[in-house]
Symmetry: C2
Subunit: 144 residues, 2 copies
DNA sequence: GCTATAATTAGGAATCATTCCGAATAAAAC
DNA sequence: GTTTTATTCGGAATGATTCCTAATTATAGC
């Protein structure tokens, strides 16, 4: 998905839900849409402060939270490291490097259609998460 | 995967790695293999204490950690709730109910073969995680 | 079976990402 | 411009997980 497209989609989504578009939120949206690195909350804070000095970590968390609840971004949770956020909410595989923490995208379909799951189990699917864990090319060649 | 098979596989794995099989560890293995509910660390502690009163939370965490590192169990991490653990390390989909927290299994293949990912990106896949989030039958019918 | 030893355990303290709180601020509607 | 109500700030609180140290125990070798 293209940066501009992600940005536009999030902003439209915010308006639709009646959420205010503050200076801080526009910064955060810009960062999430532009970064391919799936940044953490504190990485987003650091980037935002480079441009608009006054923004707090609470605000970053609050904003990420409402965007997540509105289905406009996706949170990837780990417990040995910070959560990471991405603006591309379409189905894809995340390749999570256990060496350096980098997260790459890999286009792939859902393993099973949601309808099939719902029909067989009664479970209604809202969202999905697909991850492969391993070592990225650099860590494999560099570290061993 | 069958309860007895999971249990045997974990115990064999522990022996192979030279890890001691203590009373506490055997309890934990028994619980993980027997529970389909993907219990949390404290749920495991509670169950274990019903049978062998003296076992600490630190031990549960320590044991889960070494079993995880040995690839004998899988940890599912969330940050709004406790991590959950499962003894079935084969590929499958986890259906995570955002209503009641229940986690069901659903048999499904990997969306992409690891070899294809490695060939295209240089990323070497070690393990995987596939989750659908939504509402289980009971929460859907009960709560709305 | 007994002993030595190195891993494991207990439990309490420490950590740290995230959430919560109340007062001050500012976006959006009129 | 004024009003209303969500949003922001920053510091305190939370809570799952990790860390620490002394005591314990599974395992290997006798």
């Amino acid at each position: 998905m293209e940066e501009q497209e992600i940005k536009r989609r999030i902003i439209e989504g915010m308006k639709e839900k009646g959420l205010k578009l503050t200076r801080q939120r526009l910064e955060i949206i810009d960062i999430i849409a532009g970064e391919k690195s799936h940044p953490s909350a504190s990485a987003i804070l650091a980037k935002a402060r480079n441009r608009a000095p006054m923004i707090s970590l609470s605000t970053v968390y609050y904003t990420l939270d409402i965007m997540k609840k509105a289905g406009l971004i996706k949170e990837l949770e780990f417990n040995d490291r910070d959560s990471r956020y991405e603006g591309d909410v379409s189905d894809h595989l995340n390749l999570v490097c256990t060496g350096c923490g980098k997260i790459e995208d890999f286009r792939a379909p859902r393993p099973v259609p949601s309808e099939k799951v719902e029909k067989k189990t009664g479970f209604r699917v809202d969202s999905a998460r697909f991850e492969y864990y391993g070592l990225c090319r650099e860590c494999r060649l560099g570290g061993g």
